[in-house]
Symmetry: C2
């Protein structure tokens, strides 16, 4: 009958006020925030209260500081901070490798198609460099995994769609641990990945969206085969390892 009437503590109202100013672009990226004391004066609250509000915005990725700096600056959520938060959420929702794989299968062909349609020549070069790097890599499991993630990243970047770029990161993050196992245990994994990447890049260079998407579909399906061959149960829960870095502070 009646709606619960909300009383919002001051620290929330302060953080909301600042957030609104950022989203409305009154505060622009890169701009320095007033000092805590000044904010306290303007909002007519205590500095401690302001600080609580700032911590919220900080972990939302809306505020950050320059390396070793003191003052806070307006920033927008980076791939890393978004990715950290999201993959953390996935893990807590007990997502399994098969869930992540399924999402990859849905998303990546679209990303590949977008990349093929819109890649700039600079993005193409970057993409090719990534492929070369992976192909040249011998051993060094961890670095090879990084290269594969770098390939997907570069592809997302080439598509010039911020939605794809931001969604890509957390999926890759969750993919990595299991990918490392695959590369270790499946002998032909590297060569299969390499050839798939080359086909995809060729299609991207030719601006052939359909072929890019098709090869990507095959590529992702291969990962699933990889899980099976490597003996990774599809129902393994993806877990955040130690590398759950502090989002928004690095």
């Amino acid at each position: 009958m009646f709606e619960a009437l909300r009383y919002a503590p001051a620290y929330l109202r302060v953080s909301e006020a600042i957030r609104a100013r950022i989203l409305s672009r009154e505060l622009l990226e890169g701009q320095a925030l007033p000092t805590e004391t000044e904010l306290a004066r303007q909002f007519e609250v205590n500095r401690s209260t302001v600080r609580e509000a700032l911590r919220k915005l900080e972990s939302n990725g809306l505020l950050g500081r320059r390396r070793g700096g003191k003052r806070l600056f307006v920033t927008r959520p980076t791939r890393e901070s978004v990715g950290g938060g999201l993959s953390q959420a996935f893990a807590l929702h007990r997502a399994r490798v098969v869930d992540v794989w399924e999402a990859l299968q849905a998303v990546q062909p679209g990303i590949a198609a977008a990349a093929a349609e819109r890649r700039s020549s600079a993005a193409l070069e970057l993409l090719e460099a990534t492929v070369e790097r992976f192909a040249a890599r011998k051993g060094e499991r961890e670095l090879a995994v990084g290269d594969v993630a770098g390939f997907f990243d570069a592809l997302g970047e080439a598509g010039a769609n911020p939605v794809f770029t931001l969604l890509n990161e957390p999926l890759l993050r969750l993919l990595k641990p299991s990918l490392a196992v695959i590369i270790d245990r499946v002998p032909q994994a590297r060569s299969r990945i390499e050839s798939a990447q080359k086909q995809i890049v060729a299609a991207v260079r030719a601006r052939d969206a359909r072929t890019a998407a098709e090869w990507m579909t095959r590529h992702v399906r291969d990962f699933r085969r990889g899980y099976e061959v490597a003996g990774i149960p599809l129902s393994t829960e993806v877990g955040e390892e130690l590398d759950a870095a502090v989002p928004g502070f690095s």
Copy 2:
């Protein structure tokens, strides 16, 4: 040459410590956190410092409180809190409606296929109820938009893939405003949406993943036509309206 040596302020170390305990499942969902004073005692820091740490975890959606409650409880990020943060990030990265549409086009067919493969009968009923609700709706633009979002939501739920569920929310959130315009301005929009939903649900009931995905592809393509007919430029930036609710506090 040298790596920057990092010093982490106490409030960050505290929040990291607690986060780690949550991610490692030592602290379980629903469990109450010790009181601020107790935490301060254990970490040997001041209560203000603890509070700053708690605010961070609060906006990450890892801590929350029961309606009108005082104590903090361990929670996992809800769809809403994740969605709020993500759509905020998209907006700040100046995503355009075409970007969101492209992402929908990539993701939704996969979701539909997953739903067809794994839907429970309960989920199917919910889905059908949603479709009925939208079909029966006359006028009431906002509610109709909510119904459409509810359809995608129910579909995601039916797929029983937390990754899809969490990714779906922010996309829908960004879709809504433009969808409202389409429903207003394109006369045949409602009937086209309704028939597409019915085809999709039929395929889901028949557990026919391929057909479900195909109809979904058409359905999403239709939205693009809708943009054109409604005169919404595809390069419009999606913006967070006032409804940018406080994530993790509602």
